[in-house]
Amino acid sequence: MELDANTVRDRLDRTLRLRKSTGEIAIVILLGVLGLFAAIYSQLNLPLENPFGAGVGPRLFPQVAGITMVAMSVYLLVLRLWRRRKGTIDDEVVEMNVRDGLRVFVFIVLCAGYMWVFEAIGFGVSTVALLFLLFVTNGFRRYILAAVLAIAFTFGIYLVFTTALGLPLPSPILRDVTTGIL
């Protein structure tokens, strides 16, 4: 597939439109399924009576929560579908620019990647990298300043956590140097 710069820009500028009720229906179905899981899991794995004495056991609360989730989800679902058919719903359209959506997605992926490598490569390198990437992907285009700021903030956070608060952060390189293994 051939894409020149203009088509890419075109696509990024496109706006996704979603009826608000469609999003709500998706969320409600998800919560309903989760509630069903909670109710069934409790039924199968947890006793209703306290196994070590009088009173209720570990099943009651999660099961009631699960059933409530299912009931409310079904209610909301029926209500939304019914109102959509009757056309009485005040269905705003939730708009999202592709570019904006992509930015949020990249933000989430970068943070997840950060947590993935955080302990292995250590706080310093991973934090500088993450901050730099977050700065530039969020529209801060002065690359050199971004790099300087990323290093400065990383250093600042490191100092606050380890020196001022006494909370150790993983720094394998530093540790290997100090314990003489490296």
Partner: protein, 504 residues
């Protein structure tokens, strides 16, 4: 060792001679005011981001730090409300009505000044309320056993209907989700593991502090990332002197005083908090103010009315938290998180056995309310510059702080992953107008309610009758039912009239 609650007001003033604590207070107020100005960062989000700071500090400076942020952010919210018509915190929403028109008339300095004064006076009064009502209430609460604790938490949870926004069904499904999330992990009463799927990740459940940071802070960061290109306009403007004139003070005195009382009273009720307080008082002030009829066109009394009431709610909101350990709002839930990290369990014992801590905190709270007024009078024109920080940098750094902070909770990344997942969940829910407040309240209150009920039933031998007929329990349960259904009645009534009449 003091065995009963005594007023140790003297201890409170020790703080005024302690340079370290004064420094902490100043720092916290500056952080609070600057964060509060930024739309999206209210007191709960700011405290949530900074919770891990409590790890490295002793209980006295740590809580003074958080009280300072709380008080400062509550005032900071009014700055953005006045300058750009966007309340920095929802509690300052009523401040926009008169604050922004004043700013358009070129009177932003006057508005900011009176807002600071009204906030400070309201805040100070609320601490006095806390100091007067807290100890006797704690003494009364000494007789609370598992059943009473469960009942008062149920009362707190019954307020979900008030924080659910326009859809009670959405609030309920959120509450149930919160209860479900809270039951994940090992059940302490039976030893059974619930929903852990045999993974170490879920063995201890989702730490409520991690859930709070995710649902409050990360979801807000993601919402801001989405709109990051929209530059916040209006902060470039110059703010002249914020020192209020004598005639302005004289004019606003009446509404400031009535705001103190109304705000404190409403703030003390769990769950309602400062947003409700400022709106209700704004309505009252329209009737009692000198220029009440002109409210909305840029009247200085309108700004004072809203700000006095919303800060007057800050101290009162601490009463159910400190005396019973039951948070009635988002901010107090985060404060409970801070106490948890410090290994302090709030409740009547706090007043009887650790009252020395308590009085120092109150002293810090008083000091914070004085300092933010000073900061506002002297430094606000400089402070407004803080808001010119590019949002790309601000929210990226906040994201890193939430992850690193949650890592520091247990020195493992397990809770950080859970925290971040809750944040993404919160973002999606907020996009489609599912309120996040009920989820947070349920995550915090559900374990207290569940364990309280189960212990009470275990003590009574499984019989429900003797538990629910205890006088305090019975009263609280009836109150809960009324509270829960009161907005529902309104919704039904509203629905009926909607069907009857035409909709706009």
């Amino acid at each position: 060792m003091i065995s009963q609650t005594t007023l140790q007001v003297g201890a409170m003033f020790e703080i005024f001679t302690d340079p370290y604590l004064i420094g902490i207070t100043i720092a916290s107020v500056i952080i609070g005011v600057s964060a509060g100005m930024i739309p999206g960062l209210n007191a709960s989000v700011t405290v949530a981001i900074l919770l891990p700071v409590a790890f490295g500090m002793d209980p006295i400076p740590a809580m003074i730090f958080f009280f300072g942020i709380y008080a400062g952010a509550q005032y900071g919210g009014s700055v953005a409300a006045i300058l750009i018509n966007t309340p920095g915190t929802t509690a300052a929403a009523a401040t926009t009505f008169d604050g922004y028109p004043m700013s358009k008339n070129g009177e932003s300095g006057r508005a900011l000044g009176i807002a600071a004064l009204a906030s400070g006076v309201g805040g100070l009064f609320s601490v006095i309320v806390l100091i007067t009502i807290g100890p006797p209430f704690a003494e009364f609460a000494l007789n609370f056993g598992p059943a009473e604790i469960a009942a008062i938490s149920i009362f707190g949870l019954s307020l979900v209907s008030a924080v659910s926004g326009d859809s009670l069904a959405k609030g309920l499904v959120g509450t149930a989700l919160g209860i479900f999330i809270a039951t994940i992990g090992r059940d302490p009463v039976s030893g059974y593991s619930r929903f852990t799927l045999d993974t170490l990740l879920l063995t201890d459940g989702i730490d409520f502090i991690a859930a709070l940071i995710g649902l409050f802070a990360v979801s807000e960061v993601l919402l801001n990332v989405e709109t990051i290109h929209e530059s916040v306009k209006g902060f470039g403007q110059r703010v002249d002197s914020t020192f209020p004139s004598l005639s302005d003070i004289r004019e606003s005195a009446r509404v400031i005083v009535s705001g103190m009382f109304v705000g404190s009273f409403i703030g003390t009720l769990p769950g309602s908090g400062s947003t409700l307080g400022s709106f209700i008082h704004y309505g009252i002030a329209q009737r009692i103010a000198h220029r009440g009829k002109e409210f909305g066109s840029g009247v200085i009394e309108g700004v004072a009315a809203s700000e006095s009431a919303n800060n007057a709610a800050t101290g009162g909101a601490m009463i159910p938290l400190l005396t019973l350990g039951i948070p009635g709002s988002g901010t107090t839930a985060v404060m409970l998180g801070a106490l948890n990290i410090l290994n302090i369990s709030p409740g009547p014992e706090l007043f009887t056995q650790q009252s020395d801590l308590l009085w120092m905190w109150f002293g810090g709270f008083i000091l914070a309310n004085i300092f933010f007024v000073v900061v506002a009078f002297l430094l606000l024109p400089v402070f407004v510059r803080v808001l010119e920080t590019p949002r790309a940098i601000l929210f990226s750094v906040i994201a890193v702080l939430t992850i690193v902070g949650t890592f520091a909770l247990e020195n493992t990344l397990r809770q950080a992953w859970l925290m971040f997942s809750m944040g993404v969940l919160g973002y999606v829910l907020k996009k489609f107008d599912f309120p996040v407040g009920p989820i947070v309240l349920a995550i915090v209150l559900a374990p207290i309610i569940e364990l309280g009920i189960r212990r009470a039933l275990s003590i009574s031998g499984g019989a429900v009758g003797p538990v629910v007929t205890k006088p305090i329990v019975a009263i609280l349960l009836v109150l809960s039912v009324i509270t829960f259904f009161s907005p529902y009645f309104r919704e039904i009534a509203g629905g009926l009239s909607r069907i009857g009449g035409s909709r706009s």
